[in-house]
């Protein structure tokens, strides 16, 4: 087995007092520079997985290994963007980012801290608002500050928990574009939770599909085979887009719920969840065939 940048091995989380674990035997890997999205229904354990990766929560079993070292506790190597932006309201935008930068480089001179923070705030289009308090910003701007703060510490990996979940569609679109640009420029490794299928297709190199909990599983890993240089405006023109989209939506609507009892689950190898490339399949299999023989098995790629 090759060495992955990040590998999740046999992860399990059970809360005391609940009989069945939220999930167990979770395996997946992320390569350096890869953008991975995880999709699944609410409550299946996505946030829990992300918090374990961040080191904010302890797993009940299994390990997470990043860059050859086991993750134990939070670290400046992993930047986190929280769903609720989590800005300190008593600090200005600049001070919020500077707080993070000073944590990473305690000896950096003041002027340099400011320049460094300003650079990242300008990157998310907030050059004009650096002296404002978070309360004076819109929801989208606050989330941008959160992203700038996470990028500013130049972490080895970025973890985002539904960062745009609370935003309106228009704002979400612009920030997605910005994030895409930054990630493409910096080759940042990213793990992101989303419930927006289009967002996942736009941003991700691969999408991890999680079945419903309790005892949630990584049902399959969908590779987004469209060219990396896609944009929100033109990705709809790629014929792959609808195949991938249909595949993901089909999973969320039909397959995620009954996954535990399906044929796929019987053949499921937790250590090697099936990797599928729905974008590359020329024609959709007929409905009846999909029912008996789940499509993901036909498209399994060796690894």
């Amino acid at each position: 087995m090759t060495q992955h940048f990040l590998s999740v091995e046999g992860l399990k989380k059970a809360y005391p007092g609940t009989p069945t674990p939220v999930f167990e035997n979770i395996h997946f890997a992320i390569e350096k520079g890869e953008f991975v999205c995880i999709i699944g229904h609410s409550g299946c354990g996505k946030t829990t997985i992300l918090n374990v990766l961040a080191g904010l929560e302890e797993a009940s079993g299994g390990v997470v290994i990043m860059d050859g070292r086991e993750v134990s506790g939070p670290s400046l190597d992993r930047g986190v963007v929280f769903q609720s932006h989590a800005l300190m309201p008593w600090m200005s935008v600049l001070a919020n980012v500077a707080f993070a930068v000073k944590s990473k480089w305690p000896d950096m001179p003041k002027a340099q801290v400011e320049a460094h923070c300003t650079k990242y705030l300008e990157m998310v289009g907030l050059g004009q608002a650096i002296h404002k308090k978070p309360a004076e910003l819109s929801g989208g701007m606050k989330q941008r500050v959160g992203i700038a703060r996470a990028f500013a510490i130049e972490p080895k990996m970025l973890l985002l928990d539904e960062p745009f979940g609370a935003l309106d569609a228009l704002t979400r679109g612009t920030i997605q574009d910005e994030l895409l640009k930054i990630v493409q420029a910096t080759h940042q490794t990213v793990f992101m939770i989303t419930h927006d299928v289009d967002e996942a297709i736009l941003l991700a190199d691969k999408v991890v599909l999680m079945s419903n909990g309790p005892l949630a599983k990584i049902a399959e890993i969908v590779e987004i085979t469209m060219p990396r240089e896609r944009t929100r405006a033109d990705m709809h023109h790629d014929p792959q887009f609808y195949r991938i989209r249909n595949h993901l939506v089909d999973f969320l609507v039909n397959r995620s719920k009954g996954y535990a009892g399906s044929d796929a689950a019987v053949l499921h190898d937790a250590k090697h969840p099936p990797v599928v490339r729905p974008g590359l399949v020329e024609e959709e299999a007929p409905e009846s065939a999909t029912f008996r023989q789940p499509p993901q098995l036909k498209q399994v790629v060796n690894h």
Partner: protein, 280 residues
Amino acid sequence: MFKTQGFKAGLISLLLFLLFLGAWSLATFPKEQATLSGADAEYAALMGKGAEKSSGFPAPGKVGEAFVTYLSDPFYDNGPNDKGIGIQLAHSLARVALGFLLAVAVALPLGFAIGMSPLLLQAFNPFIQILKPISPLAWMPLALYSLKDSDVSGIFVIFICSLWPMLINTAFGVASVRKDWINVARTLEVSPLRKAFQVILPAAAPTILTGMRISMGIAWLVIVAAEMLVGGTGIGYFVWNEWNNLALPNVIFAVVMIGLVGMILDQIFGVLQKFVTYRE
């Protein structure tokens, strides 16, 4: 519109005050001379100047005189029983400040510790619950006996009554700091000291200051009673002393002063509170 409402309210306030003064004058004005006959007159002759003070509730004019006399020379000092109002207030304020600062010194660190640790909170809770409702004056005999000094006892009473609101609010404020902010600090590997001063303290500051404001209010209530008990100096002693002299105008003057100083103290904390309050 705001301005006009403020103006109207001010006008009404003034009217109410004049109405109050009018009623007061009416209630105290004519009786004095009518009843000052027979035995009363004799008694008055016997007592000389002192009788003037004992004859009924003082009229506004008399109280006004007291205001003028005391405010025109607030800092004179003619021995233990005759000091200017400024000096008396300064004694009270000094006791309150000392007791309050001692309480801050204990309540903030302890409240921080209790707020951070659910274990400590549970361990301290029974003591706090039992000690909190005890009237601070109930401690007075114990304080006088063990501290053997009336001044120090007064400060102790202020300390003990300021402690609880501050302790409880600090613990509560610290315990309810948003988990997100703590998690931000954790993912940034912030040192415990920096976390305490740059995240938890500013986050809990509004709650802590509310506790301080309540404490200060209680301290100012209690100091008057405490000084009446222990005597010597202070505005409470002044009130008691003037009562023993049956100098009611002076008592009324002192009561108004207590109200004014209490209001100023509260306003100061109001300003401080505004200073640390943040909008989310």
